[in-house]
């Protein structure tokens, strides 16, 4: 089988009738969601609502049992070719950073360029340095992850994902395990990225970020999308009772 071809007119992410169980528990239930190219989507909801699981299904880190997912028009199956094609187009940033602790910052960024894209070492280093400058930590390139602060580590993780030059970036609670004073530096990096037109799906509770950047906010509860609105509407007049209660909890 050859590499599946992307469809340039298709939306960035298209999810239809998505369902997923963890054992007898249905974590995702009939999700329909389209993310247009260049769109910034913020996903929020209480813990256990399935929001992280949802974005982890997009690049195949979680299996699905119902429905379908298309990324740039490529339908996600369990075939290696489609999963590889989709992972090439999708970058991901995790709550726990997940940097490779045995590699330097520069090697963290360059490794996949060399192994996945077959880039020459020198070229991979140059590309990595470019993205490290973009997240404002080129001077840390020779250090190991354990020598950096949490905020710096997360910015390296962003640079590592960006170096692969994806079309879409997924953020899974990128600031949730950071000390308060480091949240801003990571959010600033993400705002810059949004300004450059990157398609972004962000699971976060940072409502300031959502207001500033999001084109659309979706609120999830019990594996379903309960509310879908522009940030202005969502924050000023949420329709769903559950969303109102949630907003009261986190905004005060």
């Amino acid at each position: 089988m050859t590499m599946p071809k992307p469809d340039p007119s298709a939306p960035a992410i298209q999810i239809r009738g998505l369902g997923k169980w963890f054992g007898a528990f249905k974590v995702l239930d009939g999700i329909d969601l389209t993310v247009e190219r260049g769109e910034k989507l913020v996903i929020c909801g209480p813990s256990g609502s399935g929001k992280s699981t949802l974005i982890r299904t997009v690049n195949g880190l979680e299996s699905i049992q119902e429905g379908e997912i298309r990324v740039d028009g490529i339908r996600l199956t369990r075939q290696p070719e489609t999963v590889e094609a989709i992972r090439r187009r999708v970058g991901m940033v995790f709550q726990q950073f997940n940097l490779f602790p045995h590699l330097t910052v520069l090697e963290n960024c360059a490794l996949a360029l060399r192994l996945v894209q077959g880039m020459a070492p020198k070229e991979a280093e140059e590309r990595s340095m470019h993205y490290l400058r973009k997240v404002h930590i080129p001077d840390q390139a020779r250090k190991y992850a354990a020598q950096l602060s949490g905020g710096q580590q997360q910015r390296v993780a962003i640079a590592r994902a960006l170096a692969m030059q994806p079309d879409i970036m997924l953020f899974d609670e990128p600031t949730s395990s950071l000390d308060p004073e480091m949240v801003k530096e990571v959010l600033d990096t993400m705002v810059e990225l949004a300004g450059e037109g990157m398609t972004m799906a962000v699971v976060t509770h940072e409502m300031g970020f959502a207001r500033q950047v999001a084109d659309r906010v979706i609120f999830m509860d019990h594996g379903k999308i309960v509310e879908e609105a522009s940030p202005e509407t969502f924050f000023s007049a949420p329709r769903a009772e559950r969303a109102r209660a949630f907003l009261q909890q986190i905004l005060h």
Binding site: N59, R87, F94, L115
Partner: protein
């Protein structure tokens, strides 16, 4: 000390409640064991010019107790690093003194040592080194098989570790050397020994490698997958290099154990160190000389392996130390 607290508890041996009764117990035990009648006791009395005294036990016990007390007081004042070295050297000296008390013929050892080294030691190193290399490869394959989602691979790997950890190594050597010819394959003694050692230690090390790989957090796999790394790259470039930190110390143990278990190969007539130690001593009834010499050679080899292990551990720890 990695986890030392910031409290200076008085060292156990500096507490009078421990130090003085400890010395008293040492003195009483030495006296009750008639230390004056031992070779060491005799030596001490001779040095003091008191040979033939009626109170030999009392004098020797007192001398040894006094030396121990003085020694402790000196060692306790040293820096930790020096304490370790001095204690190590003293214990080594005691062991050598113990061997010396056997009244060994050093002339005999000197005559036999070159052959023990050129034939015995070299064979031992040769067998161990090849077995270690093959066992590591087998362990890697076994661990990856056990963690795979391939039922056939898991079945083979489970059976392999069960069988080769379950049978005595000696049996495995016999089975390969004497059993395989039944199937029409005649194996020489050295290849048979290498095969048995490799298979047996590969089985133990499979479990070490598996535990090491499993200890790496799931997030490392997920980050690798999200970046598009293939399973082989993820294992080879991300998981294993990190797992090495956990795999190395118990693997070092296995290598040292294997070095000495290579002596079992002598049962099929391989002229390795232990075989020569047994046969060379027979001619002149100097068994003890050869056994002790061989033991010392094994010990030195183990120390070399320990040093190598420490170096490798430092290498894989470099990212976690500032």
């Amino acid at each position: 000390m990695q986890y030392a607290d910031n409290i200076d508890y008085p060292p156990l041996l500096t507490r009078p409640a421990v130090f003085l009764p400890g010395l008293a117990v040492l003195f009483v035990l030495l006296y009750l064991w008639h230390v004056g009648a031992t070779a060491i006791g005799g030596g001490i009395l001779e040095v003091l010019g008191l040979a033939g005294t009626g109170q030999a036990d009392l004098v020797v016990a007192a001398v040894i107790t006094a030396v121990a007390a003085l020694n402790l007081m000196v060692v306790l004042r040293l820096e930790l690093r020096w304490q370790v070295w001095v204690v190590w050297a003293e214990l080594a000296a005691l062991i050598l003194l113990f061997f010396y008390s056997f009244d060994l013929s050093f002339d005999f050892i000197r005559r036999k040592l070159p052959f023990l080294i050129t034939q015995g030691l070299l064979t031992t190193i040769y067998i161990s080194a090849i077995s270690i290399a093959i066992a590591s490869v087998l362990a890697m394959i076994g661990a990856v098989a056990k963690l795979s989602s391939n039922g056939i691979a898991i079945g083979i790997a489970n059976f392999y570790t069960s069988l080769f950890r379950g049978l005595p190594l000696l049996m495995q050597i016999y089975l390969i050397y004497l059993g395989l010819p039944q199937l029409g394959y005649v194996v020489d003694a050295v290849p048979a020994g290498i095969a048995a050692l490799s298979l047996c230690y590969g089985a133990y090390m499979t479990e070490i490698f598996r535990a090491g790989i499993e200890s790496i957090p799931k997030g490392q796999w997920e980050a690798s997958r999200a970046l598009g790394l293939k399973p082989q790259s993820t294992m080879g470039r991300i998981i294993l290099p990190q797992a090495m930190r956990i795999i190395i110390p118990p693997t070092g143990n296995q290598f040292i154990a294997m070095l000495k278990d290579s002596s079992l190969v002598s049962v099929v007539g391989v002229w390795e160190l232990m075989y020569l130690a047994r046969t060379q001593g027979q001619t002149e009834f100097r068994h003890v000389e050869m056994m002790i010499t061989a033991s010392m050679i094994y010990w030195i080899l183990s120390i070399v392996l320990e040093l190598v292990q420490a170096r490798i551990e430092r290498h894989y720890n470099r990212a976690s130390t500032r």
